[in-house]
C-alpha cells in the first residue's frame, strides 16, 4: 500500500509539532520528516551527507521565512531542478501578504495556504492539504532510487 512521504520545512518547532500531530490524527499511514532551515531542506531532497538514505518526499510543506536559506530560495531552487521540480510544494506560512502569495506562485509553488490562527481551522487546513494530495490528486511516479 502507498505510504506517502511528507517533508515539513519549518523553523518553528511548535508549528512542526502541531502539523505532525494533526497529520498523525487520521488513519492514513504516512511518514513525516522535518527539517528546520532551507539548507537542510535542499540537503534532504538531494540526499546529501546525513540525508543519504532519506526517501524522496511526495509532498513538501514549506514555510517561507526560514534561517540560512529562506523558503523562497528553496522553492526557486527546487522548481529549477529537473530532478526535484515535480514534487508538489505547498507553501504553508503565517504570512497573508499579497506579495508573498504572488511571489510563491511565480516561483512555482503548487499552492499557498496561510496557517490559520485557530486550532480547529488549523486542523482543517492540514487535513485538507493531506486529503487533496493523497486522496484526490494524482502524484507523479517516483523514480526508483
Amino acid at each position: 500500500m502507498f505510504k506517502p512521504e511528507i517533508l515539513l520545512v519549518d523553523d518553528n518547532p511548535a508549528d512542526l509539532d502541531l502539523t505532525s500531530e494533526v497529520l498523525a490524527r487520521n488513519e492514513r499511514p504516512k511518514r513525516v520528516s522535518s527539517v528546520m532551515n532551507g539548507v537542510e531542506a535542499l540537503g534532504f531532497l538531494r540526499h546529501e551527507g546525513k540525508y543519504a538514505d532519506t526517501p524522496d518526499p511526495d509532498l513538501i510543506l514549506l514555510d517561507l521565512n526560514l534561517p540560512r536559506k529562506d523558503g523562497r530560495a528553496v522553492l526557486a531552487e527546487v522548481k529549477a531542478d529537473p530532478l526535484l521540480r515535480r514534487t508538489p510544494i505547498v507553501v504553508f506560512s503565517t504570512s497573508q501578504a499579497e506579495f508573498d502569495i504572488m511571489q510563491s506562485y511565480n516561483l512555482g509553488a503548487n499552492s499557498y495556504v496561510t496557517k490559520p490562527g485557530d486550532l480547529p481551522e488549523f486542523v482543517q487546513a492540514v487535513e485538507s492539504i493531506e486529503n487533496f494530495w493523497f486522496g484526490c490528486a494524482r502524484l507523479p511516479r517516483k523514480e526508483e532510487q
Partner: protein, 403 residues
C-alpha cells in the same frame, strides 16, 4: 558649504546696494569696445571689476579661477566666438549669465543665440541697454537658483516620503507575519491544551483558557483590521466607473447571515454610477450596513439606502432605526479605536468607521452621521459626480428579498 552660501548671500546684498559691485568677464578683442562697455556700465550704476580674454584657453582659465557675475561676449572673434564660450560654460556646469555684445547680426542668429542659452543680446550701437540687460539676467539667474533649490527640496521630500512608505510597508509585513506567528502559537496551543485536558479541568480552568484564547484571537483581528486600515491609501488604488447598485448587492450578499438572523428589512433607492475603487467602496457599504444591523435597538432593523445628487457630488445615506448616537459622540465614532460601548454589549474594535472615513476622504468625499440617541442614525457620505452624468435618477423602492 554654509560659509559658501553666506558669501553668495553677502554678494547678492552688495549687488543690491548702491553702486552694485559687478564682476564682469569680457570676451572681446577690441580695446576700444571694452572701454566703451566699461564706461557704459559705470554710468549705469555698477561698481565694476572686469577681466578681458580673447582666446578660449584664457576664458576657461578665468571662469575657473574667478567668480564672475556675468560674461559679456562678442560674437565675432578671430579664433572663436561667443557661442563657443556658452558651450564651454554649459559643459563645465557653470551658471554664469552670458550676454552677447556684438555688432549687427542677422535676426535669425540673435534668436538662435538666445535659444542656445545666451541670457540676452545687446548691439554695440545700443550699449545703453546693457545695464538693464545685466540686471534682468542676474535676476533670472537668482530665480533659476531659487527654483533649483525648491526643486531640490521637493525631490528630497519625495524621497523622504518614499522611504517612509517603504518603512510602513515593511512594518505592515512585520505586523502581518512576525506579530501573527507568536499569537498563533498562543491561540492554537491554548486550544490544544483545552482539547487534551477536556473533562479533567474544572469550570474555572475552562474559563481561563477561554479568556486566553479570546484575547489572542481578538489581537489577531485587531492586527488584521489595523493592516486593512493602513492599506487604504497605501496600495495602488485604481479608480474606475462603478455601478453602486452592484456594490450594494455585493455588500448585502456578504451580510446575508446577519440580515437573516436579525430579521432586518432593507429598502433602497436606485444608486448612481461613480468613479471609485470598487473594493474600497464595497467596504464602505459593508461597514455601514453591518453597523446598522449590529447597533439595533429592540425593534427589528429597518434600513434604507439612498443617494441624492447635490451640486457636484452624490450624497449616499444609510438610515437605520437603531440605538442612535448622542450628538456629543457623533464625531468620535470615526476615530480609530474609539468605541462607545463595551465589547460584551456590541462586539468590534473601533476600526470600521475609521476605515470608511479614510476611504471616503481618499475618494474626495466626506462622511458624517446625524442621529438622536435611541432614534436611529443616518450615515451620509459624499462622492464627486463624474461626467457624463449617469442616467435617470428615478427612485424606486424595493424590498430586499431574503434568501
Amino acid at each position: 558649504m554654509i560659509a559658501g552660501e553666506l558669501i553668495v548671500e553677502a554678494e547678492a546684498q552688495k549687488l543690491h546696494a548702491k553702486g552694485e559691485k559687478l564682476s564682469v568677464l569680457m570676451v572681446e578683442d577690441s580695446v576700444a569696445d571694452t572701454e566703451l562697455i566699461r564706461s557704459e556700465l559705470e554710468h549705469g550704476g555698477f561698481d565694476l571689476s572686469s577681466e578681458v580674454v580673447q582666446t578660449a584657453e584664457e576664458f576657461a582659465r578665468q571662469v575657473h579661477s574667478n567668480s564672475f557675475h556675468v560674461v559679456l561676449a562678442d560674437f565675432n572673434l578671430p579664433q572663436w566666438n561667443g557661442m563657443e564660450a556658452l558651450e564651454l560654460l554649459r559643459r563645465e556646469g557653470l551658471d554664469i549669465p552670458l550676454i552677447l555684445v556684438s555688432g549687427a547680426l542677422p535676426d535669425i542668429t540673435a534668436v538662435d543665440c538666445i535659444k542656445q542659452g545666451a541670457a540676452d543680446y545687446v548691439l554695440k550701437d545700443r550699449l545703453a541697454r546693457l545695464p538693464s540687460a545685466i540686471r534682468s539676467a542676474l535676476q533670472e539667474k537668482q530665480l533659476r537658483e531659487e527654483r533649483k533649490r525648491a526643486e531640490h527640496e521637493l525631490a528630497q521630500k519625495v524621497e523622504e516620503l518614499a522611504r517612509s512608505n517603504r518603512e510602513l510597508e515593511h512594518f505592515a509585513y512585520v505586523a502581518s507575519h512576525d506579530l501573527q506567528e507568536p499569537l498563533r502559537m498562543v491561540a492554537t496551543y491554548t486550544q490544544l491544551l483545552a482539547e487534551r485536558y477536556r473533562g479533567k479541568l474544572d469550570a474555572q480552568a475552562e474559563k481561563y483558557i477561554h479568556y486566553a484564547v479570546d484575547g489572542a484571537k481578538r489581537m489577531q483581528t485587531l492586527i488584521q483590521d489595523l493592516l486593512a486600515f493602513s492599506r487604504v491609501g497605501r496600495q495602488d488604488t485604481t479608480f474606475a466607473p462603478v455601478d453602486c447598485n452592484l456594490i450594494l448587492h455585493q455588500a448585502l450578499e456578504s451580510l446575508q447571515l446577519a440580515i437573516r438572523e436579525s430579521g432586518a428589512v432593507l429598502t433602497y433607492a436606485r444608486l448612481p454610477e461613480v468613479m471609485a475603487n470598487s473594493s474600497q467602496l464595497l467596504q464602505v457599504f459593508s461597514n455601514l450596513l453591518a453597523n446598522a444591523i449590529k447597533f439595533r435597538g429592540s425593534d427589528k432593523p429597518n434600513i434604507h439606502i439612498s443617494a441624492e445628487r447635490q451640486a457636484g457630488e452624490f450624497a449616499f445615506s444609510v438610515r437605520d432605526n437603531g440605538i442612535g448616537i448622542a450628538s456629543e459622540n457623533a464625531q468620535d465614532v470615526f476615530v480609530i479605536f474609539r468605541r462607545l460601548h463595551t465589547r460584551t454589549e456590541y462586539p468590534g474594535n473601533g476600526i470600521g468607521l475609521a476605515i470608511c472615513r479614510k476611504i471616503v476622504e481618499q475618494h474626495g468625499g466626506k462622511i458624517w452621521v446625524t442621529s438622536r440617541e435611541g432614534r436611529g442614525s443616518t450615515f451620509t457620505f459624499t462622492l464627486p459626480v463624474t461626467e457624463p452624468v449617469p442616467a435617470a435618477q428615478e427612485k424606486f423602492k424595493q424590498e430586499y428579498v431574503q434568501a
